[in-house]
């Protein structure tokens, strides 16, 4: 069986269309680029100042002036462009990024997101996350369904918000959920899980799509 993170990343990749401008968060989201369907080329935006980011740089041939938002050496694709941080966030906040894919500490049924601070414990700063989730056309949360069994998909977020009402879709190893004005709709369930199991792993009450897909 494939790694859980790979399963999630592969499913996220199916949400992307050819030519989409996409910002991938650090960690699992970065893996999405490895699972793009044939014929789908996306343009990666990196908030530190790059459009058209390529793959990680090979050891020994790094350009030390070119890093991604995780400070790792990367390459650029033909047609790439560098810009300053104000321009970068103009692109992000201005709705020119088709999709941003990132992890979460908590998401709730209103589409609220908390992923940047655990008061008193972890205060790394929000970086570009607040702008990304407010600005991108589509916000996809890619994460494991629970944190070692503890609910992450909640009725109401308990941690301080990153932004309110911004999440469009949650993709976990259990399936795919869409945030609607009625609540969280389970649209796909992964092989090996029952609806009951997904609901048990979710604090918010799931609406089951009548056309629920099994995958």
């Amino acid at each position: 069986m494939a790694d859980i993170k790979e399963i999630i990343a592969a499913r996220v990749a199916k949400e992307l269309k050819d030519g989409d401008v996409v910002n991938l968060g650090i960690g699992l989201p970065t893996m999405v680029a490895n699972f793009l369907p044939e014929g789908v080329n996306i343009i990666l935006q990196s908030e530190n100042g790059m459009m058209g980011m390529g793959a990680a740089a090979e050891k020994g041939s790094e350009d030390v002036d070119i890093v991604n938002a995780g400070a790792q050496y990367v390459t650029v694709n033909p047609g790439a462009m560098f810009f300053d941080s104000a321009t970068s966030f103009g692109i992000i906040r201005g709705g020119h990024v088709d999709a941003t894919i990132l992890g979460a500490l908590e998401v709730d049924q209103h589409g609220n997101l908390s992923n940047w601070i655990v008061p008193g414990k972890m205060v790394p700063g929000m970086g570009g996350a607040m702008d990304l989730v407010v600005g991108a056309k589509k916000v996809i949360i890619a994460m494991q369904h629970t944190q070692k069994g503890a609910h992450k998909i909640l009725k109401e977020c308990r941690l301080p918000y990153t932004a309110i009402g911004v999440v469009d879709m949650i993709i976990t190893e259990m399936g795919v959920m869409e945030i609607t004005s009625e609540g969280i709709v389970l649209t796909e369930i992964n092989e090996g899980y029952t609806i009951e199991e997904v609901q048990t792993a979710t604090e918010a009450e799931l609406i089951i799509n009548p056309d629920l897909k099994q995958s």
Partner: protein
């Protein structure tokens, strides 16, 4: 016109205790290390440092965190430098660091506004979060925005890839970051340059930062070694 080329020590000579200093770069990529080093050597205290992040220990703004010279850090992300959390939580008064966290796009735009003579701007970022605390919320055409104010500073430490003798500067790759906005938003601007060329050697179409913003140019900045 006056010669702007000088040593790092000369360039930072006027930075005094309590000064506000903007520092370009993103995780130290695009940060002028030779200017940071000169500031560490000078040993000025109680600085307010405005930078995207806290660098990493031993690199970029991280050096100023470790040396205890920063009283207030305004940044969007400090998670890759554990020294920051330590100093935020210390009981030793003189080591204590105050950290003001700002969304990255808001920080970039605040600095741009400072240099561009704007009194502020309305951003949707941070609405409904703790970032909104104490800020005015203004509704424009049915959507809520936060009114964010401009940021300026006494000094800016900029990293240039190529700088001409007048100060016109270009940035290679992702070193551009906050450098261009900071060059316009500070009273005294110092460029740590990887390469200094004759005035006019850079194509006027490709200059990113105008030399009119630049007060001092220090050569000898070198790319980070892996």
């Amino acid at each position: 016109m006056k010669n702007k080329i000088m040593t790092a020590a000369e360039a930072v000579a006027d930075i005094k205790d309590g000064a506000s200093v903007m520092v370009g770069g993103f995780m130290a990529c695009g940060t002028p290390e030779i200017l940071i080093d000169a500031l560490v050597k000078k040993g000025v205290k109680n600085l307010t440092v405005i930078c995207n992040d806290a660098g990493v220990p031993g690199r970029g703004v991280g050096k100023l965190v470790s040396s205890g010279q920063i009283k207030t850090l305004i940044a969007s992300h400090v998670g890759l430098n554990p020294e920051v959390a330590k100093r935020m939580n210390t009981d030793i008064e003189e080591d204590k660091l105050e950290c003001i966290l700002v969304p990255q796009g808001t920080l970039a735009e605040q600095i741009r506004a400072g240099g561009a003579g704007l009194g502020g701007f309305l951003t949707p970022t941070g609405v409904g979060t703790i970032v909104a605390e104490g800020k005015e919320v203004i509704n424009v055409d049915g959507r809520d925005y936060l009114l964010e104010k401009p940021l300026k500073a006494d000094f800016a430490l900029i990293r240039g890839s190529v700088t001409d003798q007048f100060g016109n500067t270009t940035y290679n790759g992702t070193t551009r970051t906050f450098n261009p906005m900071m060059a316009a938003a500070a009273s005294y601007v110092i460029v740590g340059a990887c390469e200094i060329v004759e005035t006019g050697a850079i194509d006027p179409n490709n200059v990113v930062t105008s030399g009119i913003f630049v007060d001092a140019i220090v050569g000898g900045e070198t790319p980070w070694q892996i």
